[in-house]
C-alpha cells in the first residue's frame, strides 16, 4: 500500500462518469413518466443495431451505429414487453449503481423474476442490457453489470478503490505475483498517476503462461511496463481499462498474441472495437500497437509452426475485407499468412530458450511507434 500523502490522484474520472450514468437513467425514466402523464403511450427512439446500420467510422477507427433509429413504443403489443423489460433493467441498474453494488448478467436474469418480469432466458435479459447500452450510450460495466471475469493486471501502478468499504484505499498492482483480477472493484478504481521513470507503457498478452513468464522475468521492471493478461479475446472491462491507461495516463499500449488470424483479431478488437459493441464508444484504444506474433515473425524467426486449417483460411478471407484491416501492416500480414500457410503460438519462441522472447524479441517490438 502506498501512503495516501504521496499519491497524485488522477482526475476522478470514475466518479464523474458514474454521475453521468445515473442522470442518463433518470432521464430515460422522466421521458417515459412525462409521456404517461400526458396520457400518451410512452415511446423512445434508439439507434438501430441491425447489421445494415453498423458502419465503420474512419475518424474514431471503430465500428459505430449509423443514423437509422428504431422506435420502441408501449402502444405496440409486440414492443410493450421488451419496453417494460428495458425500464425494469434501467431501474435495476439505477439502484445497483446508486448503491455501489455490482452484479452479473446472471443476477439480472434472476432478479427480474422477483418483479414478475419474466425473461424467457438469459439471452433475452442479455439483449435488454444491450438495449439499455444503446439507449443510454453507456456500457453495462458502467451500470455495474459484469460478465464472469478472467482477465488480470500486474505492474507498478497504484489504484484507489471507489467500491463501498474500500473507498480511498489504494493498492499497488505489483503487490501480488499472480497479478490482480480485473473485476468490478478494479474497473471502478481511480488511477494514481505513476512515475514515468517507473512506468511508461502497457503490454497486453493473450496467454496466461506468457503473462506469468513476463512477471517472472521482471518485464514490468526491465521494460517499465504494466502487464495485462487478456485471456483470449479481451473482456469489455479490460478493453475499457486499456483505453483508460492509454488516454488518462498517456501510456502506449503493446499487444502480443498468437501468430494466427484469431490472435491478430484479438489485437484488432482492442484497437478498433467490435461490431457487437458498435453501439458503444470508449471501449477501443486506436493507438494501441500489435507487436506480434506476426506472420512475418514466423518467417523471420523461423518459428516452429502448424499449418493453417481451412477454418483459419476462411477467417483470413473475412478479415481481408473488413475495413478495420485496411492498413498496410494488416494487409501485409494477412498476405503473408496466406503465402506461408503457417501459424505459431507465442510459446514457439521457447525453441530458442525460455528467455529468448524477453531478451531478444520483446525489445525489438517495443521500439515500434505504430502499426
Amino acid at each position: 500500500m502506498v501512503p495516501k500523502k504521496e499519491k497524485k490522484r488522477s482526475k476522478g474520472v470514475i466518479k464523474e462518469r458514474k454521475e453521468k450514468v445515473l442522470s442518463a437513467l433518470e432521464e430515460l425514466g422522466e421521458q417515459v413518466y412525462d409521456q404517461l402523464g400526458k396520457k400518451e403511450f410512452p415511446s423512445f427512439k434508439m439507434p438501430s443495431r441491425s447489421i445494415s446500420n453498423i458502419i465503420y467510422d474512419e475518424k474514431t477507427r471503430q465500428y459505430i451505429l449509423g443514423k437509422r433509429n428504431v422506435k420502441r413504443s408501449a402502444r405496440n403489443v409486440r414492443h410493450i414487453r421488451p419496453f417494460t423489460q428495458l425500464l425494469w433493467t434501467a431501474m435495476f441498474v439505477d439502484e445497483l449503481t446508486a448503491q455501489n453494488k455490482t452484479s452479473t448478467l446472471r443476477d439480472v436474469f434472476y432478479s427480474a423474476q422477483a418483479y414478475e418480469m419474466d425473461f424467457q432466458d438469459q439471452q433475452e435479459s442479455d439483449n435488454l442490457i444491450t438495449d439499455l447500452e444503446t439507449v443510454t450510450g453507456f456500457s453495462r460495466e458502467d451500470f455495474d453489470v459484469f460478465p464472469e471475469e478472467r482477465s488480470a493486471i500486474f505492474g507498478d501502478l497504484t489504484i484507489e478503490y471507489t467500491v463501498p468499504g474500500y473507498e480511498g484505499r489504494t493498492l499497488n498492482l505489483a503487490s501480488h505475483p499472480d497479478g490482480v483480477m480485473i473485476g468490478p472493484a478494479l474497473t471502478t478504481s481511480e488511477f494514481v498517476r505513476p512515475d514515468k521513470r517507473k512506468v511508461d507503457k502497457v503490454i497486453a498478452i493473450e496467454k496466461g503462461g506468457l503473462f506469468t513468464r513476463f512477471i517472472e522475468e521482471r518485464v514490468h521492471q526491465r521494460f517499465k511496463s504494466v502487464l495485462i493478461h487478456t485471456a483470449g479475446q479481451a473482456p469489455r472491462a479490460t478493453r475499457f481499462l486499456l483505453r483508460r491507461l492509454n488516454q488518462e495516463l498517456d501510456l502506449p499500449v503493446y499487444i502480443f498474441t498468437d501468430g494466427d488470424p484469431w490472435g491478430m483479431h484479438i489485437a484488432m478488437v482492442i484497437i478498433s472495437g467490435s461490431a457487437n459493441a458498435a453501439h458503444l464508444r470508449e471501449l477501443n484504444t486506436p493507438d494501441a500497437i500489435w507487436g506480434g506474433v506476426w506472420a512475418t515473425d514466423i518467417v523471420d524467426y523461423k518459428l516452429p509452426s502448424d499449418p493453417l486449417t481451412d477454418l483459419d483460411i476462411k477467417r483470413l478471407n473475412e478479415l481481408e475485407k473488413d475495413p478495420r484491416y485496411a492498413g498496410g501492416l494488416w494487409q501485409r500480414e494477412i498476405e503473408t499468412f496466406r503465402k506461408v500457410r503457417k501459424k505459431s503460438e507465442q510459446e514457439a519462441f521457447s525453441r530458442y530458450g525460455l528467455t529468448y522472447i524477453v531478451d531478444e524479441y520483446l525489445p525489438k517490438k517495443l521500439k515500434l511507434k505504430s502499426n
Partner: protein
C-alpha cells in the same frame, strides 16, 4: 330349402343358444352389457311406439359370487311403454322369433330377438325363471307372469300367472330375472351406454342403480318425442331371394301384378305392368306357382330395374336437428349461456333422405366444441345407429374413416391437438349396413360414406365460422391482457426511475386500447 328346415330338430331358441357369441353374449361382462342394452332398447321402442316420453328404470343388484368377477346378479327393468297384453306375454318373452314380420320401419331391434336372448342367457346361467309384469292400458288389469323357455321346443313355459287390479292406472312393462354377470369389467361400458343413450334419446328419463348402490340419473331435456315411423313394405331394390320366397308363401294375391302392388312400396299398377314386361314374367301368373328359377329371375330383375321410385323415407324416424342439439348440450353439460356468449358451440344438421340398395337412410350429425369435451385435442366421435349408441370397434366404422381420414379439419379452423371437438354421427335406416352380426360398426357403403362426409362438411361451415370468431376474440383478449400486464409496470418503473412520487394514471390508455386497437410491427425511421 332353408338352413332352419334342414336342421328341423334344432329349434330357433336352441340355434341362438348354441350361437350366443354372435348376439353379443361371449363373456359374463359382455353379456351383462348386451342384456341391459337389449332390454333398455326394447323399452325405448315400447315407449316411442306410443309417443310416450320414456321413463326407464334399471337396477342391477348383486346376488352371490365375487364382486370383481363373474357372479349372479338380479336385473330389473321398468318402463312406461305401451305394455304387452297378458295373453301375449308368454310368447313375446319366451319364444324366439315370435312376431317376426316382414314389414319395415326404423326400430332399434329387428325382431325383438336380443331381449329374448337376454332372458335366455339368464335362464341358462342361473337356472331360474323370469318375472314379467305388464299392463297395456291404464284401464286394464296388471298381469304377473313367471316363465321360462323350453329351449329344445322353443316354447314358453308359464310357471305362475295372475292378474290384479290396476289402481294406479299404470301402463308399462317390468322385467326381473337373475343372470350371470361381471359388473366390475362391464361397468365403464354400461355407464357410457347410458350416457350416450341420453344424448340420442334426449326425451327420456333414464335411471340406473348399480350393484354398488350408486344412482345414475339422466334427466330428459325435452318431452318432445319424434313422430313414430310408419310401417312400410319393402322396396323392390331391398329384398333377396329368401325374403321374396317367404313373402310369396304368405301372400293372398292372385296374380304377380297384384303381389307386387300389395307387398312392395313404390309400385302402382303402371310400374307393376312395366316391370313385369321388363322381367318377362307373366302379368297374370299366380305367385304361388312360381318355380325357384322364376323367383331368382324375379329378384334379379328387381335389382336391375332402374325405374322404381326411391324408397319411402317416412318409415324412418330421425331425431331432428333440435333434439340432437338438446341431447348433446345436456350430456356434455353445455349451457345456453355458454353457447350464447361463445365459450361453447353446438351445431346439428340433418341431410335429406338417401338410399342404398333399396333401403332409405338419413344422416344426422352434430359438432360440438367446448372445454367440457376434453379429449386433449383428440377428436371425440360418438356414433349412433337408429338411436342406439355404438360403443365398440370405432376404428372400423365408416364414420371414423370420414372423421379421421377424409376430412381435413384444419379447413374448419380446428387446430389438431388443441381445439376440443366432438363429432356425433347418427345413421337412421330401415336396415343399418352393419359390417358384422355384432352390430357395433357400420360398413363403408359408398352412399352412406358420401352422405356422412357431406353432412359433416356442411355442419363444418358453421364450426369454421365459430372457431374463427373465437380465435379473433382470443387474440384480442390476449392483446389487451398484455397491455394490462405491462402498462402498470411501465408506470411503476418509470416513476421510480424518474424519482417521482405519484404514479401516472394509465386507466385512460387501457380503455382506449379496447376501442381503437394498437400499432403492430416494428417501425424504423
Amino acid at each position: 330349402m332353408t338352413v332352419a328346415e334342414v336342421f328341423q330338430e334344432i329349434s330357433a331358441a336352441d340355434f341362438f343358444y348354441r350361437n350366443r357369441d354372435i348376439a353379443g353374449f361371449t363373456s359374463p361382462s359382455r353379456a351383462i352389457y348386451s342384456t341391459i342394452r337389449e332390454l333398455v332398447e326394447n323399452s325405448l321402442d315400447a315407449c316411442e311406439t306410443g309417443g310416450i316420453p320414456p321413463d326407464i328404470y334399471v337396477r342391477l343388484s348383486h346376488e352371490s359370487g365375487p364382486l370383481d368377477g363373474p357372479g349372479t346378479y338380479v336385473l330389473r327393468i321398468e318402463d312406461n311403454g305401451i305394455g304387452v297384453p297378458g295373453d301375449v306375454i308368454p310368447s313375446a318373452f319366451g319364444q324366439v322369433l315370435y312376431g317376426s314380420k316382414y314389414k319395415l320401419r326404423q326400430t332399434r331391434g329387428t325382431f325383438g330377438l336380443g331381449g329374448k336372448m337376454a332372458l335366455l342367457y339368464g335362464q341358462i346361467t342361473t337356472h331360474t325363471e323370469a318375472q314379467i309384469t305388464s299392463s297395456n292400458s291404464t284401464k286394464s288389469r296388471i298381469t304377473d307372469i313367471a316363465l321360462r323357455t323350453d329351449i329344445q321346443q322353443n316354447k314358453p313355459i308359464v310357471l305362475k300367472k295372475k292378474t290384479r287390479t290396476n289402481k294406479t292406472h299404470w301402463k308399462g312393462t317390468i322385467i326381473e330375472f337373475k343372470t350371470e354377470a361381471d359388473y366390475s369389467r362391464a361397468m365403464s361400458k354400461i355407464l357410457e351406454y347410458f350416457k350416450q343413450t341420453a344424448i340420442i334419446v334426449p326425451y327420456a328419463n333414464l335411471t340406473f342403480v348399480d350393484p354398488r348402490g350408486r344412482l345414475y340419473r339422466f334427466i330428459r331435456g325435452t318431452s318432445k318425442v319424434p313422430p313414430a315411423p310408419t310401417e312400410t313394405s319393402p322396396h323392390p331394390h331391398g329384398v333377396d331371394v329368401e325374403t321374396v320366397q317367404r313373402m310369396l308363401k304368405l301372400t293372398n294375391a292372385k296374380s304377380l301384378q297384384e303381389f307386387l302392388r300389395k307387398q312392395f312400396q313404390r309400385i302402382g299398377e303402371t310400374t307393376a305392368r312395366k316391370f313385369l314386361q321388363y322381367s318377362s314374367l307373366g302379368q297374370k301368373k299366380n305367385p304361388k306357382n312360381l318355380s325357384p328359377g322364376d323367383i331368382v329371375k324375379l329378384v334379379n330383375a328387381m335389382k336391375n330395374y332402374e325405374d322404381f321410385l326411391s324408397p319411402d323415407p317416412t318409415s324412418l324416424s330421425p331425431l331432428g336437428e333440435d333434439l340432437l342439439a338438446t341431447g348433446i348440450k345436456k350430456e356434455l353439460g353445455i349451457t345456453e349461456e355458454e353457447t350464447q356468449n361463445g365459450t361453447a358451440f353446438v351445431t346439428t344438421l340433418q341431410r335429406k333422405p338417401a338410399t342404398y340398395s333399396g333401403f332409405p337412410f338419413i344422416i344426422e350429425v352434430g359438432l360440438a366444441s367446448s372445454k367440457q369435451i376434453g379429449g386433449e385435442g383428440k377428436i371425440l366421435l360418438f356414433r349412433f345407429a337408429n338411436k342406439i349408441p355404438l360403443l365398440f370397434d370405432e376404428a372400423s366404422d365408416v364414420s371414423w374413416k370420414v372423421v379421421d381420414q377424409l376430412i381435413d379439419w384444419r379447413n374448419y379452423r380446428v387446430i389438431p391437438g388443441e381445439t376440443p371437438l366432438a363429432v356425433f354421427v347418427h345413421v337412421c335406416s330401415t336396415k343399418i349396413p352393419y359390417k358384422t352380426v355384432g352390430k357395433e360398426f357400420i360398413a363403408d357403403r359408398p352412399e352412406v360414406e358420401h352422405e356422412i362426409l357431406n353432412a359433416i362438411r356442411e355442419a363444418g361451415r358453421n364450426l369454421r365460422l365459430y372457431l374463427s370468431k373465437r380465435e379473433h376474440l382470443a387474440q384480442e383478449k390476449k392483446r389487451v391482457d398484455v397491455f394490462e400486464k405491462y402498462l402498470p409496470k411501465v408506470a411503476q418503473f418509470s416513476t421510480k426511475l424518474a424519482k417521482a412520487k405519484k404514479e401516472p394514471d394509465i386507466k385512460p390508455l387501457l380503455k382506449g386500447l379496447i376501442k381503437y386497437g394498437a400499432e403492430e410491427g416494428e417501425e424504423e425511421e
